[in-house]
């Protein structure tokens, strides 16, 4: 049997203690920064050396928030969808029907002591990869508790991992069952809420779309919030909506920030997220998502392995 170090452990062992940054350069940088921040025209003053171009991020798109807020204020929203010139009739129809399905759906509440059992089957293909594992499917089986804690058992081929994730309450968005139940149910309010909090994608609209996927994927979002989330995603100008074979697909494409597409596939009747797909120049991926039901326990081997993993990680991290 071949026995190896985990490459991440090795990399961590060689983590730089300090940046390779001379004290003089570091002090010069902080001095330039403080001078720029103190300048009356700081909002426009490039902080970099004069020879470098100012590299401020792109301005955040706001027109749809404004459109939504203005429309809401005028009382013109029927189901809270911001109106925009590129809001096409087929798209509106597909989203409106999905929103209606979400509003009719049953709430899935995780009782105390029970767990929402889900399974995701996924596959990724990287055309340029010379990798025998390329295209090998993997399975993520998860158990979510009433407090939002998640245990997960992943398998790919013969490889298995077990994780225990705490409730995601520390970030700008509370993803726990209790947290998502408090989200705005008005699409315009929810859009503004998300726009103020999402981060980490190539654009704010993309980050909102990702957040909608993250929330609907969890399975326990209340119907009214699910409906509002679908409205929000459908209102993004980069999103198209199509219906086919009992499925409604919301696809996000913005070639100006990222080549390829990201899609959320909903069951048209229940508005449950049942699949995802992504395309990019380097990789394509697809996943199916299935809620298996509520169970009264997490398998003992998953609990044991996840706990043992936590101890090993804690020891390594010191």
């Amino acid at each position: 049997m071949s026995i190896t170090h985990d490459p991440i452990d090795t990399l961590a062992a060689h983590r730089p203690l300090t940046a390779d940054w001379s004290p003089d350069d570091r002090e010069a940088t902080v001095e330039r920064l403080l001078a720029a921040a103190a300048a009356p025209t700081a909002s426009r003053m490039p902080v970099a050396r004069p020879s470098r171009r100012d590299a401020a991020p792109r301005p955040v798109r706001r027109r749809f928030v404004l459109a939504g807020v203005a429309a809401a204020a005028a009382g013109t929203l029927v189901i809270g969808l911001p109106l925009a010139s590129d809001w096409t009739a087929p798209k509106a129809s597909a989203v409106e029907q999905l929103v209606a399905s979400a509003q009719r759906s049953h709430a899935l509440v995780i009782p105390q002591g029970w767990y929402l059992h889900m399974v995701v089957h996924a596959r990724q293909h990287m055309p340029s990869a010379d990798d025998p594992m390329d295209g090998v499917p993997w399975v993520e089986e998860s158990w979510t508790g009433a407090d939002g804690r998640v245990w997960r058992h992943d398998t790919q081929g013969t490889h298995m991992d077990n994780y225990a994730f705490p409730a995601l309450t520390g970030g700008p968005i509370d993803y726990t069952p209790k947290g998502v139940a408090k989200l705005p149910t008005s699409p315009s309010d929810l859009m503004a809420y998300l726009r103020a909090r999402v981060q980490g994608s190539n654009s704010t609209d993309e980050a909102i779309f990702v957040a909608v996927g993250d929330m609907t994927r969890m399975g326990y979002v209340p119907p009214a919030v699910r409906a509002a989330l679908i409205s929000v995603a459908g209102a993004l100008p980069e999103v198209t909506a199509t219906r086919s074979g009992g499925r409604t697909t919301l696809a996000f494409v913005d070639e100006s920030t990222r080549p390829g597409s990201q899609s959320l596939v909903f069951d048209s009747g229940s508005a449950a997220l049942v699949g995802e797909a992504g395309t990019s120049p380097g990789a394509d991926n697809v996943a199916t998502i299935e809620i298996l039901g509520l169970v009264d326990h997490v398998p003992a081997d998953v609990l044991t392995e996840a706990a043992a993993q936590a101890k090993r990680d804690a020891a390594i991290k010191g």
Binding site: I8, A55, D131, Q199, A283, A310
Partner: protein, 180 residues
């Protein structure tokens, strides 16, 4: 010391390390300055743990600086090689061999996979934080990380750079700080 200066002194090193991997030493200081100036302008938005947020800002600053793929790879590789901390008590030639074996193994990973490894192993981010910096979902990030590790392991085996016998294989350090 001003709040801005305190923020800079607490977090500038990892932000600069991140910038160094993407734009090289010549532009890294500019990215750091721009990142902290943006943070200062948006200080009301700063989360309690600001490092992941700062890295996202740095990534956005860097995204405006167009580079070819090959140039980006060279910058990243050079930065990792130069910042690689050599172990104490190991013969220099062995240490260099180990470093180069891992650099070669990293070459087998895609750009996104390499970055995933370093965000976790060097920047010390949790998967959720690293996913935000990488601009993908947590699930996509953990998959990316698992694949990166598998690729590195295979490359290291091919290179004969296996660890000494007796070191048990164990699952990836994905959840680290998130584990309860």
């Amino acid at each position: 010391m001003s709040d801005l200066e305190e923020l800079f002194r607490r977090h500038a090193d990892p932000v600069r390390g991140y910038a160094r991997r993407h734009v090289g030493p010549d532009s890294a200081d500019d990215v750091v300055s721009e990142t902290f100036l943006i943070a200062w302008r948006r200080r009301a938005d700063l989360p309690t743990e600001p490092l992941p947020w700062l890295l996202v800002v740095a990534r956005n600053v860097i995204s405006n600086q167009r580079r070819t793929g090959r140039r980006a790879d060279e910058l990243w590789r050079t930065a990792v090689r130069e910042q690689w901390r050599m172990p104490q008590g190991v013969a220099p030639d062995e240490a260099v061999t180990e470093r180069d074996a891992h650099l070669s193994a990293l070459d087998d990973c895609t750009r996104a996979e390499r970055e995933a490894l370093i965000l976790i192993a060097w920047d010390g981010l949790t998967p959720a934080q690293a996913a935000a910096v990488a601009g993908c979902s947590v699930r996509a990030f953990t998959v990316r990380l698992s694949r990166a590790r598998a690729r590195m392991e295979r490359a290291l085996r091919r290179a004969g750079a296996d660890a000494p016998p007796g070191v048990a294989h164990r699952p990836i350090l994905v959840p680290t700080k998130e584990l309860s």
